[in-house]
Symmetry: C2
Subunit: 127 residues, 2 copies
Amino acid sequence: MGTRYSIRDLADEFDVTTRTLRFYEEKGLLSPKRDNQVRNYSNADRTRLRLILRGKRLGLTLEESSNIILMYDPVNQNTNQLLALIEKIQEKRNQLIEQQKDLELMLQDLDDAEQRCRESLKFTDKR
Amino acid sequence: MGTRYSIRDLADEFDVTTRTLRFYEEKGLLSPKRDNQVRNYSNADRTRLRLILRGKRLGLTLEESSNIILMYDPVNQNTNQLLALIEKIQEKRNQLIEQQKDLELMLQDLDDAEQRCRESLKFTDKR
DNA sequence: AATTACGTTTACGTTAACGTCAAGCTGATG
DNA sequence: CATCAGCTTGACGTTAACGTAAACGTAATT
């Protein structure tokens, strides 16, 4: 434990550029320690990066990912804030469930498309 | 059948601006008939729009959506093209399945986050 | 000591996906 | 007939998410 990563370590591991990591930091999505001005990432930073990139793959903006990450750690909040947070979480979950439906529809469409392709192949072969 | 739509009909139905529809046309994603210079959309156009917007919700670029839509109609292709198309379809499906996994992970994370929220609420109530 | 390899900040450039005018045409309506 | 709503085609503006290049510091290697 206590593993630490350079900017290059993370860039290589997650296949992003160092520019991207600096940009995420500029936007407040990451805030690695500095060793004499040099960025030094913790496992927590690494996890946040994973979440950001997962969000990206799902089509979220960086701001959305940022907001979601904030939901993960409900420390030091009063009751009203916690209730508001639960609202937001449920809303985001509903959005994701809608997205799940879209995704299955597209998978179904692709299956149909492949079937039609194979049908076309049959005729193409016959001649 | 044979229903036709004005640019406003579609814009209102799908909650996009007319600018968006013209932009999609400019990019070759839609090509409605013209009645005396005025755009006149068919059910096929409407379906394509639905597919484009579904792609957007899944985080696809317009070009990706465009490519996928091309896969849906394998008319007039030779054997090699059909085989290549099947390859593409399977590749896209694999990507979507990866995305499905990301999505379930995020749903799981959100559930966990909500649980932690409710835990915090308990303590907040106790005092 | 000079080169190489990596890091830093600063700043301007780029692309996708539209938004936002401007200027004009067209058909219906008071 | 005037005017108004709704369509058209440019054309320039905007934002997110980086890319790219300049100019510099530093540590290790030759």
